[in-house]
């Protein structure tokens, strides 16, 4: 009985604190996946939480003005969506706890700050290599194109993990987007699978169709980071979606609002990467994904019963 009253009192205190808490959302621009993240974030907060949302309209300067205005009555927490919102919060709100998300390379922009925590867009190389192995158990030589300045650390870590997993990671550095074709042609004969990572030098609007077409012609499967690539012919991908990121950010914010400390490390990997798989490509490459892999796959393209989980696929495909 005594424990029941203590629990009831604690719940009352928590609810009151949550109702009093104010959350400000800074959104970089009107992009659908930003809206998805914001919507998921809102849904994860306790009801009664006072939420104020600002749209930066793609301007860091506007974000800084908004953030500066918030200094007088700082909110309990700031949720920054996108790089520009995160930068504005970092520059103007040095004491307010801030959670950011949907930033591709936060480290290259000085993120996070001391009062900040964020969710990475990049999936850990170990998880990706595990997925590659599950998809193509016979593939030993994994090719990779990367820009040393952008993704050198990631590749180094991946190289170690691959070696540990008994795989050979053949990583070819490129310094310019124009180097990609020659690098691809050089690389393709040496590898069993091409692993596309989120390197902005390698992956461009124009190089993607080229890479996908060339690898298809060379019968070298591609493992990527986006369900769109899978839809266009890549074998598979381990990807994140904005809704999951928003939910994860909401949970993180709840912890902070409840008075918890900022998590360590400050940059959290996405908790729920999703496996996308193109069954037609698999058939083309002579692969037969196991039942376990098919069960793990969240998004399936092609084949009988092509769409495994339509509700999830719709989040990727407009």
């Amino acid at each position: 009985m005594r424990r029941f009253f203590i629990t009831l009192l604690a719940a009352f205190v928590f609810c009151s604190a949550a109702e009093a808490a104010g959350v400000v959302i800074l959104k970089s621009s009107d992009v659908p996946y930003y809206d998805q993240a914001v919507q998921a974030f809102r849904s994860s907060l306790p009801s009664g939480t006072k939420i104020t949302e600002y749209n930066l309209d793609g301007s860091v300067a506007k974000g800084r003005q908004i953030a500066k205005a918030l200094r007088g009555t700082p909110p309990d927490l700031v949720f920054a969506v996108g790089l520009k919102a995160a930068l504005a919060a970092k520059l103007e709100l040095v004491d307010t706890p801030t959670v950011f998300c949907l930033v591709l390379n936060p480290e290259s922009h000085g993120l996070p700050g001391p009062n900040m925590t964020g969710i990475l867009m990049r999936i850990a190389p170990g998880s990706q290599l595990a997925s590659i192995q599950a998809l193509t158990p016979h593939a030993r030589r994994i090719g990779l194109l990367f820009d040393e300045d952008r993704t050198g650390d990631f590749v180094e870590k991946a190289r170690r993990l691959a070696r540990r997993a008994g795989l050979e990671l053949i990583a070819v550095p490129v310094h310019h987007s124009a180097d990609v074709p020659d690098a691809v042609r050089t690389l393709l004969p040496q590898i069993d699978l091409l692993w596309l990572i989120q390197d902005q030098t390698v992956v461009t609007q124009d190089s993607l169709p080229y890479i996908l077409a060339t690898t298809l012609e060379s019968k070298v499967p591609v493992f990527g980071f986006s369900p769109t690539l899978v839809q266009q012919g890549a074998l598979g991908a381990l990807a994140v979606n904005a809704r999951d990121i928003g939910l994860q950010a909401g949970r993180l914010a709840g912890t902070v609002l409840r008075g918890g400390p900022l998590p360590h490390p400050a940059l959290q990997p996405p908790h729920q990467p999703q496996l996308a798989l193109n069954l037609n490509s698999a058939e083309y490459f002579g692969l037969s994904p196991s039942k376990d892999v098919l069960r793990m796959a969240t998004v399936l393209y092609g084949g009988p019963g092509a769409v495994a989980r339509t509700e999830t696929q719709h989040e990727f495909l407009p």
């Binding site: 659908p32 930068l87 390379n105 074709p181 902005q200 080229y210 060339t214 980071f225 990807a239 990121i245």
Partner: protein
């Protein structure tokens, strides 16, 4: 109104010629329009197809162009050349360098001279289309409107720019951020325009289009001819169906005009021509009925005229009989009245003369009035008797040369009482050489007595009466008696010579209305004529024309007295 000989076309010819003309013109115009539209459509389809293929190559070779991947570009060009109408493909970079080119057929050597470096800014949706041809084995750009005679086949060079894409992956944050997250987020850049990578030239042949167009033209011509032929047959049938009944009706109408009313036309249709035929039959029936009526009328006309003539003759005889009876009655009554009146006149005269005893002055005055009225009654009875005798032809005329001036003077002497009573002025204009007239002196005296007495009655007091003789016309003497009386209205002038007629203007004067009738009868009895002229309020003029006695020569006149013609008695 008859038409000129050159324009005289019958209905059949007009129908056939004009309807055929319309069919031919309409079909030809429609065919021409159809061919024109087809040519434009086929050409546009060809260009659309070429543009589509060029755009597709530009889209798929985007990265190959950017990195000048000649191998990949060659593969893509080879794929595009698989299309039948594509004759050459050229792909170049943004700096104007030709990456690769290939052709087939006559364009085995691609026209690299036609490759144009891309110009910034270029619109992604604006291909450049030029007509080109091989002239003496060398590529040449043609004028869009012209087609040189030495060119047998033309081609289209379609050039499209190769742009970088700006696709947004709104529901794939991993890919979208990888592609679009800027290195410097603080730089507020707007929408980035597409980057120009290079240029794709596609040569497409219009050979198939031309062949298809030729087939279409042939089909259109054949179809047009078939339609025209069918239309002509239809027009001939229609013209026959319209003109044949009209011709038949014309023939029947011609027979009717020649009097043959027994014709009947059979309606061949239920349209306007059929109605015309029915109306024609009704008209012929009406003409037949009218012809029958005329025939019947003509047949009975003679007998009816004879009956009417008999009726008129009977009425005329009856009228003549009545006239004789009237004349006899007037004659008898006048004669029977005259005898007692003469006796009364003698007795009154005796009383006035005191033979039967003395009478008082008042009685004298009364007797005078009685005597005057008896005289007046006697004169009227004399006039009636004279007129009766004249009308019945029982007047004996003793014709002889008569000097009219003597007659006039004698009459004036007898009427001097009236002249003096009304202070009239009588002016005579009788030439000395007034010739003799041939007539009865007594009757002429009565004629002029009546005329002058009439003039004096109607001339107001102090008026003038003129008597003028005119001998200007040979063989005729005309005497004019004019007065200043009240005149006779124009509509009355013809009636004054009728018996008992009295002009309304002369109702204040006494008279029987027989004087002028007697004058007319007497003058005409002597071979003359009398006529009157009058103006109301100015006076009247009576002209008496009498036959003159021929004048002897001057020598004969001096030697011998006027030789009187033998006295004759004639009864006109």
């Amino acid at each position: 109104m008859p038409a000129p000989a050159g324009l005289r076309l019958n209905l059949w010819t007009k129908l056939v010629v004009f309807t055929t003309l319309i069919v031919v013109v309409t079909c030809s115009a429609l065919s021409w329009f159809f061919v024109q539209r087809q040519e434009a459509t086929l050409t546009q389809d060809l260009l659309d197809r070429g543009t589509l293929l060029a755009n597709h190559l530009a889209a798929t070779s985007r990265y190959s162009v950017l990195v000048k991947d000649k191998t990949r570009v060659r593969e893509q060009i080879a794929g595009l050349l698989g299309a039948e109408q594509i004759v050459y493909v050229m792909v170049g970079s943004a700096d104007g360098q030709l990456i690769d080119a290939a052709g087939k057929g006559a364009w085995k050597q691609p026209p690299v001279t036609l490759f144009t470096p891309p110009a910034e800014p270029a619109s992604p949706s604006a291909p450049t289309v030029r007509r080109v041809a091989l002239v003496n084995g060398r590529p040449r750009v043609l004028d869009p409107a012209g087609f040189p005679p030495e060119v047998s086949e033309s081609f289209y060079d379609i050039a499209v720019p190769v742009f970088g894409t700006t696709a947004a992956f709104d529901y794939d944050p991993a890919l979208s951020l990888t592609l679009h997250e800027p290195a410097d987020p603080t730089a507020d850049v707007g929408a980035t325009p597409p980057v120009l990578y290079g240029m794709v030239h596609v040569g497409i042949s219009d050979h198939q289009t031309v062949a298809l167009l030729q087939t279409l033209i042939l089909q259109a011509v054949i179809l047009t001819l078939i339609i025209i032929a069918a239309g002509l047959v239809f027009v001939l049938i229609l013209a026959h169906r319209i003109s044949a009944p009209v011709k038949a009706l014309t023939s029947l109408a011609s027979q009717v005009s020649q009097g043959n009313l027994s014709v009947t036309a059979s309606p061949s249709s239920y349209d306007e021509v059929g109605e015309l035929t029915t109306v024609f039959n009704v008209m012929v029936e009406a003409l037949q009925a009218r012809e029958q009526d005329l025939h019947d009328l003509n047949r009975t006309l003679e007998s009816r005229v004879e009956a009417r003539t008999e009726e008129l003759q009977r009425a005329n005889s009856r009228l003549q009989e009545l006239n004789h009876l009237k004349t006899a009655l007037v004659s008898t009554a006048s004669h029977e009245l005259r005898t007692p009146l003469t006796s009364m006149k003698v007795h009154v005269n005796n009383l006035l003369g005191g033979i039967s005893g003395p009478v008082s002055p008042d009685q004298v005055e009364t007797l005078r009035r009685v005597y005057t009225n008896i005289e007046r009654l006697c004169r009227m009875i004399d006039d009636m008797l004279d007129l009766s005798h004249l009308q019945t032809g029982r007047v004996a005329l003793e014709a002889a040369p008569v000097r009219l001036d003597h007659v006039i003077h004698d009459v004036l002497l007898t009427l001097n009482y009236y002249v003096a009573q009304k202070a009239l002025s009588v002016r005579l204009d009788l030439p000395d050489s007034l010739c003799h007239v041939w007539g009865d002196e007594g009757k002429l005296r009565q004629v002029f007595s009546n005329l002058l007495h009439n003039a004096m009655k109607f001339t107001p007091a102090g008026g003038i009466i003129r008597i003028i003789a005119d001998t200007s016309v040979e063989g005729v003497v005309t005497l004019c008696v004019s007065d200043d009386g009240c005149g006779i209205p124009p509509d009355e002038i013809e009636k004054i010579f009728l018996p008992f007629y009295r002009s309304p203007n002369g109702t204040q004067t006494r008279g029987s209305g027989l004087g002028l009738s007697i004058v007319k009868e007497l003058v005409e009895l002597q071979g003359g004529s009398v006529r009157a002229e009058s103006t109301v309020h100015e006076g009247s003029r009576f002209f008496v024309r009498l036959p003159a006695v021929p004048q002897p020569s001057a020598t004969a006149r001096s030697d011998q007295q006027v030789e009187s013609p033998p006295r004759r008695q004639f009864f006109p």
